[in-house]
Amino acid sequence: MTLPILPTTVVGSYSMPGWLERLKTEYFARRISRHDLDEIHDSVVKAAIKDQEIAGIDIVTDGELRRDNMIDYFVERIPGVQIDRSSKKFYYDFYDSEVLGRLPMASLGLVPDFQFLRANTELATKFCVTGPHSLSKRIRNKHYPSEQAFAADLARVMNLELKELVKAGGNFIQIDEPYYSGFPEDLSWGVDVLNTLVEGVQAKIAVHLCYGNRYGKPSWEGSYRYLFPRILDAKVQQLTMEFARRGGEDLDLFREFPSQFELGVGVIDVKTQEVETPDIVAERIRKTLEFLPAERLYILPDCGCVHLPRPVAFAKLKAMVEGARIVRKELGN
């Protein structure tokens, strides 16, 4: 599948409708069945894919609408993690979960969700997976001698799943590690864990690094400077980062620390409902081109669109696509 220059994609999640939030919560209150919820999920995922296609996105995801949040979708699947199922009141709450023994090697069962995505679009696809560092921050470790050891073992188990995704046809996988920004001191070992996760995985690997998007607001503030130079050791092809909301000051780091990474540049602020114009998007792309060549840029929102109302999310994606087209034209494409 040939992609245009400055390909557009999303970070993962698409708008979560209020009625779906209520239905998910109804499921936890045992007022609707798993079967019904699965059918609902199938329908909304198809709709999310269709919205991305209509908006003109080049690389689509399943909108992550099956997921309660970026943690629990994995916590429920990782073998050996104990969950207190009474700990959730609202679907978006995190489960209380803990690990009491060494994680067994077993499938997480992500492949069917990826296959569903593949079966419902002709476009290029991306599948997103929360990284071991972020997961280790939310699962209480009662077994491993350190957080680092726990995260490394999560990476070992999840590596198998990534390979299964590749076998199923996945060629672009995004690892979400927003918690790096909250715990920059962990980066020294976080990159090793990331490398364990992606070892031998024959696909394009992106790592998504933002300042959090829980409830549609940042969890931390600061500068991406903390990433450098350690992140240069990551065996991934692409970094996707939040620049629309925070401004482009940190782009300078790519000049200061030259690398071969592609950059997924965030040009849409997902923490406001104000819809950017294509011209604003184009200006943000042009700014990035001062630091990196077009061949190494992917265009995407700062983070997932999960907290935006659907019309806003759709309008923002359309503006993003249009902004990318403006710049492609300027580049003679």
Binding site: G18, W19, Y215, G216, K217, P218, S219, E221, T272
Partner: protein, 489 residues
């Protein structure tokens, strides 16, 4: 008949209860009240907290289905504080007669001769009562000069809880601790934004700055030079009055006119940057509306303001205007202020007299019968149902539309580690509404109303914050609570 005794007026409760029951039984025996109505009657005694309020001593309302032929509930509300001895029976009888008024043709009904209506039925937040409230704050000096007392003197304790030194010291200590934590994590921003909305005379801001300055010096942390204190109010005149209180720190202060309903609109350049936002007695003065749940159905309380005809005639005569003109002159008063009358002093007196006399008539409209229920920004029917899941089955509650709007539009300003602190009068459990209904009341020329903290908590959780309410323990007997947010994981 269900009798609900709220026991607001404890000393006279037994006698009034006895009088009310005797009056209703006698009306039943005389055939004025039929047995069907009697059976469906809910009587609320001393239902409203504030002595100065918008209600008749006796008011009766029916839920909407009755007009459509269904068996609906009749609500009789009695405010014993307004009742002269021996008049209750006649007042109840008169209120019952008002029930015969055709719903959509009040001008033809019994009440028409007794009331001068100033608007059509609507949800309270859009009532002209709030235009009076707005006029009061914009023309505060006029009001104060006429009454000879400042607005703080009109508060229940004669002064604002905002300025309590111990509360301020605790607030400063919390803020300083946050700064120290951020610094220890190398996350202290270069500028430390803190925000007060509704600054009044600036007394709290001045005391807060004094305290923070002293603490910072005492601990040698040198945060103070980085502090940016924003004093915000929706009145330029108020902001001007606040300047002397902070003159020592004027270089670190900014004075910003903003609408408390939407701070984010004015301060969007500070999105995710404000470390501490504070409001005292602002939410209780923002537009509000009410709902009622009866027998499992949810009703919107719609109101229309009126002047009792006897008051309208008196005010017209004293103001030297025609009685028929009063509604249109009130309307112009709310547009141009007391200059509506050629003699400004007479205009102020007219304003104050109308405000003292104005009342609200109400009806209960089934939410499901409304084509566009128009819930306040940030809340939907599903969330209200969720909130009511564990609430008493029969309940009247505030939607606190203005407070909700302000709250939602302040949160985006907060830094990821920032917090909001609000001192106000909150209902923190829905079962508290069984103890009576907390407003609205009249406080000088403004409106005072309790705030539905349960609903705020519901909205906050969806926005990523947990809400906590602590009693304002600094002044014994204070009804104030302190709301503060913590980040929800």
């Amino acid at each position: 008949m269900i009798l609900h005794l709220n026991h607001v007026r404890r000393d006279a409760a037994a006698a009034v209860t006895s009088d009310a029951v005797a009056a209703l039984v006698s009306l039943l025996e005389e055939g004025i009240l039929d047995p069907g109505q009697y059976a469906r009657l809910r009587v609320h005694l001393d239902w409203i907290q504030y002595r100065h309020n918008f209600r008749e001593p006796v008011a009766i309302t029916r839920t909407e289905q009755e007009a459509e032929g269904g068996a609906s509930t009749l609500e009789l509300r009695i405010d014993a504080r307004q009742i002269a001895p021996g008049t209750l029976r006649d007042l109840v009888r008169s209120a019952m007669a008002g029930l015969d008024t055709p719903r959509d043709m009040p001008e033809e009904g019994t009440r028409a001769a007794e009331r001068v209506y100033l608007e059509d039925f609507r949800t309270f937040r859009t009532s002209i009562a709030w235009d009076f409230n707005r006029l009061y704050w914009h023309r505060l000096k006029d009001w104060e000069s006429a009454t000879g007392r400042g607005y703080e003197q009109a508060l229940p304790g004669g002064k604002s809880d905002a300025n309590h030194p111990a509360a301020i010291a605790d607030s400063v200590a919390d803020f300083w601790t946050l700064l120290r934590d951020l610094e220890s994590q190398n996350q202290l921003p270069p500028e430390l934004f803190t925000l007060e909305i509704g600054v009044g005379l600036g007394t709290r801001a001045g005391l807060w700055l004094d305290r923070f300055h002293a603490l910072d010096q005492q601990r040698g942390t040198n945060y103070f030079p980085r502090l940016r204190f924003l004093l915000c109010d929706y009145s330029q005149a108020t902001l001007e009055r606040s300047r002397p209180a902070v003159h020592q720190y004027i270089d670190q202060c900014s004075f910003i006119v903003l609408d408390a309903l939407d701070p984010n609109k004015t301060l969007s350049f500070l999105r995710h940057k404000v470390l501490h936002a504070h409001l005292t007695n602002v939410y209780d003065n923002l537009p509000d509306e009410e709902m009622v749940r009866r027998d499992g159905r949810l009703y919107w309380v719609q109101v229309r303001s009126y002047l009792p005809a006897v008051d309208a005639s008196r005010i017209a005569a004293e103001s030297q205007i025609g009685a028929a003109e009063i509604a249109s002159i009130v309307s112009r008063l709310l547009e141009v202020g007391p200059e509506v009358l050629a003699d400004r002093c007479r205009g102020i007196r007219f304003w104050q007299d109308v405000w003292a006399a104005i009342r609200l008539e109400e009806r209960l409209v089934d939410v499901e019968n409304l084509r566009d229920p128009s819930f306040p920004e940030g809340i939907d029917y599903g969330q209200i149902e969720e909130m009511l899941r564990d609430a008493p089955s029969d309940i009247r509650f505030h939607l606190s539309s203005g407070a909700l709007q302000s709250f939602r539009n302040t949160l985006p300003l907060l830094h990821p580690r920032g917090y909001l602190q609000v001192q106000d009068i909150f209902v923190t459990g829905l079962s508290d509404y069984r103890m009576g209904f907390y407003g609205p009341g009249k406080l000088d020329g403004s409106i005072v109303n309790w705030v539905n903290g349960v609903l705020l908590r519901e909205v906050a959780e969806r926005a990523g914050y947990d809400l906590h309410f602590a009693p304002f323990h600094y002044r014994p007997g204070s009804k104030t609570s302190v709301l503060y947010t913590t980040r929800r994981e």
